[in-house]
Symmetry: none
């Protein structure tokens, strides 16, 4: 199993932090490894307290299913095939802001979760973090 | 970071309690500080037991995101951008009755959460508590 | 079932708060009713954050078994008859600082839990609160 | 209430990481703020997975009571005044490796928690992190 290193995780977080600063938003940024366990985390000054837990849950959710968190949210709605899947795993977050992280061979080595603003901005910042890995 | 004092929190609770009495409702009233930790609490005689936890969760939710709890509930509906956000932070409450508390400079110093009647009355009582601070 | 009123609980808390101030300590003070549910709470400015949960657990523990929390701690030691009873009820606290509250007829109507300093001071402050009831 | 910044927390973590590398140990390093909420975290490559949660709990415990975690462990032994305090606050860790972080005025602005080797080494690494703040 390939796995993200601490150095890579810190690069991902720094890229996400810089993107947040450029965008004028305050984010909680979490990176988990291939085992869905936290590797690195940063909460920007003044970021929402409630987004701390959400950012970690987004990162875990993205690695649990190796897909963007928002894709799961599309399936977990009332009437959908994964309705209320959020009750599993101690609580999932299924709206945008979590993305799998892949190495150069395309293998998933971890995931990033971002929370602190609109889900659109959360997603943009998570993408900036993701691009720092490759 | 400014923080609500115990004396201020007790004034907020007393104002909310008086408003409840005038309105003829029985409330659980919780005040948390800037760190989202409980500072003061009061459960009126005969108030719903199940509203104890809800009042505390409303106060925490309002501070977690620095907005009225009902605003979050508008975004967490099926199909909404924050669908099922309630699964984070050990359980959020996203219907009305929780409000951030700000000091004279507009900085958030805590939050109030009220539960025990209709959400409309919960909100009215929370507002009465909030106005006692300034 | 007789039950403590909010007014009585607030008198208990105020007496405990005054005793804390005289003693020069900063306390978390919780009062539960006959159903072991929180009625009133106060955290003094600068009191330990970790004592918030402990004060509530002390009050609940004292009502769960209608005895001072320290008495249970004497029985929950290694080799004792109630070894590790602290694992029950979502976590008990069995060192001093929690006391049952009785009405004039001697019936238990609630309990007080105090945490924020040495267990000796926690107990002294809890006693001061208890005496305010009768 | 003064509060540690993200930049300061990252300096604390980097100093602890360097000390770990010099010492030849692999650590989980967590920094919480004055509200006992996570600000920054790093898990070194190959560090024990079980130490992730322990490092965060050590940091929280140190801030909950504004003292080194090992001091609490001295009081929570069988027969001690705080026996089984670990059952509070969702789980405390009371052996060495957690230390309060103070600003130049001596005010507690957060805490560091380190876990991944012997408690002696955990403590040494936590101290190195602490010294980076001042």
């Amino acid at each position: 199993m390939n796995n993200i290193t601490l150095q890579q995780a810190q690069q991902v977080i720094e890229a996400a932090r810089q993107k947040s600063q450029e965008t004028g938003v305050k984010m909680n940024i979490a990176v988990v490894d291939a085992g869905a366990n936290l590797v690195a985390f940063a909460r920007m000054n003044g970021a929402w307290l409630g987004s701390l837990d959400i950012s970690i849950k987004k990162a875990k959710t993205a690695r649990f299913f190796d897909m963007p968190t928002g894709d799961i949210g599309g399936l977990s709605q009332p009437g959908g095939p994964l309705y209320n899947i959020e009750h599993s795993n101690g609580g999932l977050i299924t709206f945008p802001g979590g993305l799998p992280l892949r190495d150069a061979q395309g293998e998933v080595v971890g995931a990033i979760g971002v929370s602190g603003d609109s889900v659109e901005n959360d997603h943009i910042v998570a993408e900036a973090g993701m691009h720092a890995l490759r």
